[in-house]
């Protein structure tokens, strides 16, 4: 089964990207969930859509943009959106959760207008929304690999700061942790991972890969380090099973990945009934 899959280079690249985001997304997800910011992933993935839509619109008049993957523009928008989101969280200090729907709805609003103007409500859009394993290039795989290296180094070097911030941001600040800088870097990194995952999982289902493996992991983990082990395992399992089944049943990979992650979560909840 795997042999057939690996015959085609685009599927190989899809698998490489899939397995990379299969651990990047849930590992970042651990920090996001522990900070009770699970919805941030949706806001950032929707702003990525805006970037993609903007690229598609611009590419109609600017031919230089045509050979470029629209996801890069999406990444740029996602990073910018993440910075706006941090700003909004300060503007609404006592209603921090407002920042998410503001970014999310403006992302969709602009995205839909750009897509309408570009007349792009076709199969392309479907690919961006739900993921695709078609036409993945070696360049895509290379970019995601580079992002993976950056993210891994970031997590290794900032692990203790990220951990402290997730547990108790105020105390971290008192203890002299540069919370603003770390928060800023973390949001940028999250935006990069979200944009990388979109190729395979799709905008609407990025959060499933970032959040569901962590939701399963939190029920089993006895320490913070274990959170990563389980999140990693569940994330990779979801991507591997999801991609293969998506290929054989010819359905959008995002859907199968989300369903696999959901199945794992269901089993874990069933096994351990105590509340968290």
């Amino acid at each position: 089964m795997l042999a057939v899959f690996l015959q085609y280079s685009f599927l190989r690249y899809a698998l490489i990207i899939g397995l990379l985001v299969g651990f990047l997304a849930p590992v970042l997800g651990v920090f996001i969930v522990m900070r009770r910011q699970a919805l941030i992933t949706d806001a950032l993935s929707h702003i990525t859509l805006t970037g993609i839509a903007f690229h598609l619109l611009m590419a109609q008049s600017l031919t230089v943009l045509q050979p470029v993957n629209p996801v890069y523009m999406g990444m740029g928008f996602s990073v910018t959106g993440s910075l706006l989101l941090e700003r909004l969280r300060h503007v609404y200090a006592s209603y921090k959760e407002l920042a998410v729907p503001i970014i999310l709805s403006s992302g969709i609003g602009f995205g839909v207008v750009f897509l309408s103007l570009a007349d792009e409500f076709g199969s392309d859009l479907f690919r961006y929304l739900f993921g695709s394993i078609i036409a993945v290039t070696s360049q895509d795989a290379l970019v995601v690999s580079l992002i993976a290296v950056i993210v891994i180094l970031f997590i290794i070097f900032f692990y203790k700061e990220l951990f402290f911030l997730s547990f108790d941001e105020e105390q971290a600040k008192i203890n002299g942790i540069p919370t603003k800088t770390i928060n800023f870097l973390f949001t940028v990194i999250a935006a990069l991972v979200i944009a990388s995952s979109i190729r395979i999982v799709g905008i609407l289902l990025v959060s499933s890969l970032m959040i569901l493996p962590v939701a399963a992991s939190v029920r089993l983990s006895k320490s913070f380090k274990q959170m990563f082990v389980y999140a990693f395992l569940f994330g990779e399992l979801s991507v591997a099973v999801g991609l293969l089944t998506a290929f054989y049943f010819d359905v959008a990979p995002g859907g199968m990945i989300a369903l696999t992650a959901l199945l794992i979560l269901g089993i874990v909840i069933g096994l351990k009934k105590e509340t968290h």
């Binding site: 402290f164 203890n175 983990s221 320490s223």
Partner: protein
């Protein structure tokens, strides 16, 4: 009572703070000498927690100055000298999957600096801190599994692990059972008398506290009293209430009529 050195660890000079035009603190001038144990008391909403936040640099006062170890707050860099156990420490996300060891390690992160990893010396410090609070046997347990009193000790260990010169505790006994409160005060007393640790304890529980502290500050927007605990007891007995303070606070705590 403990001999108190002359070095001032912490000092506020005419500090005032307003929240939405409502004065919360007015001209508060207070100091803590090295080796002393100051109980900062006042009813709920008296500005105690606000004062602590100002001392820790979390919010800026509208007027006045704060000096930490003789340095103005704005220029103060040695935050590892200050251990802090917040009121909120107990209301953390109790499902958070972190072991006692992991939680205590956090206390070292600030002074370790960026791009540094835990080494053997750090691990020994963690062991020592847990030993000081009597929680060594629980280091592999997750923090959420522990009782309120045990979690309290872990958070104190986290504050102690960086070997601070002063420990600030904000309403640490809220939500902790009576027996644990007793053990908690014994622990603070040991730290103060045997280790010479300077302590600042914020509490609304006047009764128990006066038996352990060396100095008392009474805050209710303005500082009503600032002196030694003996002076405090004398003044209370003679002028304020005319009878034992302990009785009153205990009656109040149990919810009965005063």
């Amino acid at each position: 009572m403990l001999p108190v050195n002359q070095q001032t660890v912490l000092e506020t000079d005419n500090v005032s703070y307003r929240y939405s035009k409502q004065p919360v603190l007015e001209n508060v001038s207070m100091e803590i000498k090295k080796g002393s144990f100051l109980g900062l008391v006042g009813p709920n909403g008296s500005g105690k927690s606000t004062l602590i936040k100002i001392l820790l640099g979390l919010i800026a006062p509208d007027a006045g100055e704060i000096r930490l170890f003789g340095t103005p707050l704005k220029k103060f860099k040695h935050w590892e000298k200050i251990g802090y156990v917040s009121q909120k420490a107990n209301s953390f996300n109790s499902g958070f999957p972190a072991t006692v060891q992991e939680v205590v390690a956090m206390g070292l992160y600030g002074q370790m600096g960026l791009f540094r990893f835990l080494n053997k010396t750090h691990k020994r410090k963690i062991e020592n801190a847990l030993e000081q609070v009597g929680m060594s046997d629980y280091k592999k347990r997750t923090i959420g599994e522990l009782s309120g009193g045990q979690q309290q000790r872990v958070f104190i260990a986290r504050a102690l692990v960086s070997e601070p010169d002063i420990l600030i505790l904000d309403e640490p006994t809220v939500g902790v059972d009576a027996q644990s409160v007793q053990q908690f005060y014994t622990l603070l007393s040991t730290l103060n008398i045997e280790k010479g640790m300077t302590l600042l304890l914020v509490t609304h529980d006047v009764g128990v506290m006066t038996r352990y502290v060396s100095h008392v500050a009474c805050l209710n927007r303005i500082l009503h009293f600032h002196g030694t605990s003996e002076e405090f007891e004398e003044q209370n007995l003679s002028s304020v209430y005319g009878h034992d303070v302990t009785m009153i606070t205990h009656g109040h705590e149990s919810g009965g009529p005063l």
